[in-house]
């Protein structure tokens, strides 16, 4: 586990990971939406 000496270091690391996760989640949600609505009948 990384050791953080300052709040700045902690925030830089955690925010970095969070932004990467957010990008993955956005792509994942798009894929999930396609999976969910794939068999919807055209209204």
């Amino acid at each position: 586990m990384d050791v953080f000496y300052t709040l700045q270091d902690f925030m830089t690391y955690t925010k970095g990971v969070t932004y990467l996760l957010m990008a993955a989640i956005l792509l994942g949600m798009a894929g999930f939406w396609c999976f969910l609505t794939d068999r919807d009948e055209d209204e």
């Binding site: 586990m1 902690f10 955690t14 990971v17 996760l21 949600m29 969910l36 068999r39």
Partner: protein, 397 residues
């Protein structure tokens, strides 16, 4: 079933049916035990019937009856917002049952709260004697009181139709959109504030459950609980009260299950995402390898990710059975989340001999309160136009 046959009479019970059905006997025993425990609680105090102490001032009466009860009663604002704010008229048949479930849910939350706070005559004191305007709990109390009033007014159109009071009924129906908007605002406030109550105790709540986003988590999970409870209640109503339903209800039930299941799947996916973000923001990944971490993963994967996937598969395949079972799983999962935050992950530092486990009488009161709700629900649904449209007002709402 014809429209006329679906209209219930005003008699309290049909004379040729025995009172001693299996449900009535079991419910009767639970009610009698509940009344005895009630007398013990109010005559002997909390210590007589509970295992509450200074470390755990809130037990299952708050953790389950209040926290889970409020979340599970969220179907009212979710359904009425979907129909009256977002214009999804295809779910109209689900509104009255959802409003009834919500009204009974919130009413029983207040009943359960009386057991915990004691001195029921002091319930209005926060409004008339001393307002705690710096307290989140005051805001919760105010919002719940107002929302219970909103739900009562929204629900009142059904008994007014049953009693034939057309003028009063028409006034209430004209207030629908206003009440719906007010209900959504109030629900957003108090659902999130229940989560915010724990922000003041970061050292007591386990870091995996504690987050600055607790209010958001509670609000989003209340929407999930509301959507799932509508499907769950609809399933049970179709099982036991199908003879009371008109053709509209029977025709729309599949659409309600599919539509609400789809919405629940999406919101669960979003909730899963924000829970993961919550771990990331606080850098708590290492805690997932602990015992509490394993329990957190059971909640997150088994009762959030799994229902999300099952709902999605059910909606894709139009598998109503899967959707119905998943709604039960989700309802259980939201209740589990509330119990985790309020009891299990609370005071996680304490040794096991100082941990809280509810007294059997506390469990008895919780079962009593839920049974009361089921009895009243059954009374209302078998007599009033909840599962059918009253023939005098067919296109009136």
């Amino acid at each position: 079933m014809s429209q006329e046959a679906a209209v219930a009479g005003k008699a309290p019970f049909t004379p040729d049916r025995s009172l001693f059905t299996r449900f009535n006997v079991i419910a009767g025993i639970i009610v009698i035990i509940g009344l005895v425990i009630t007398i013990l609680r109010f005559s002997g105090g909390l210590a007589t019937v509970t295992n509450l102490d200074d470390n755990y001032p809130w037990g299952i009466w708050i953790g389950f009856d209040l926290m889970a009860g409020v979340a599970l009663a969220a179907g009212g604002f979710v359904t009425s917002a979907a129909v009256y704010v977002f214009g999804m008229k295809r779910y109209h048949s689900a509104v009255r049952p959802a409003i009834l479930t919500g009204f009974l849910g919130y009413a029983l939350v207040v009943v359960a709260l009386h057991y915990d706070v004691g001195r029921p005559w002091r319930l209005p004191y926060p409004f008339i004697m001393q307002q705690g305007t710096t307290s989140l709990l005051f805001e919760v109390a105010a919002c719940v009181a107002l929302y219970l009033t909103v739900l009562f007014v929204e629900f009142s159109s059904a008994p007014l139709e049953w009693l034939g009071l057309k003028k009063a009924r028409n006034i209430v129906v004209r207030l629908t959109i206003l009440l719906t908007i007010f209900g959504v605002v109030l629900s957003t406030l108090h659902q999130s504030s229940l989560g915010a109550l724990f922000l003041i105790a970061p050292s007591k709540l386990h870091p995996l459950w504690y987050s600055g986003y607790l209010p958001v988590f509670f609000f989003i999970s209340s929407i999930i609980a509301g959507l799932s409870m509508v499907i769950f209640e609809s399933t049970l109503s179709h099982r036991y009260f199908a003879h009371k339903m008109d053709e509209t209800h029977l025709r729309e039930k599949e659409g309600v299950a599919l539509g609400f299941g789809k919405a629940a799947s999406l919101v669960l996916a979003g909730y899963f995402a924000i829970k993961v973000i919550g771990i990331s923001v606080d850098n708590n990944w290492h805690l997932l390898g602990t015992c509490y971490g394993a329990w957190f993963l059971v909640e997150l994967l088994g009762f959030v990710a799994l229902p999300c996937f099952l709902y999605a598969v059910g909606v894709r395949d139009k598998n109503l059975t899967l959707i119905k079972w998943t709604s039960g799983l989700t309802v259980f999962g939201v209740a589990l989340n509330r119990l985790n935050v309020c009891l299990i992950a609370f005071n996680w530092h304490l040794p096991s001999d100082e941990k809280y486990f509810p007294h059997w009488m506390e469990i008895g009161i919780s079962v009593f309160v839920v049974t009361l709700g089921i009895i009243v629900f059954r009374f209302i649904v078998t007599r009033m136009p909840i599962l059918y449209e009253h023939p005098d007002y067919k296109d009136g709402h």
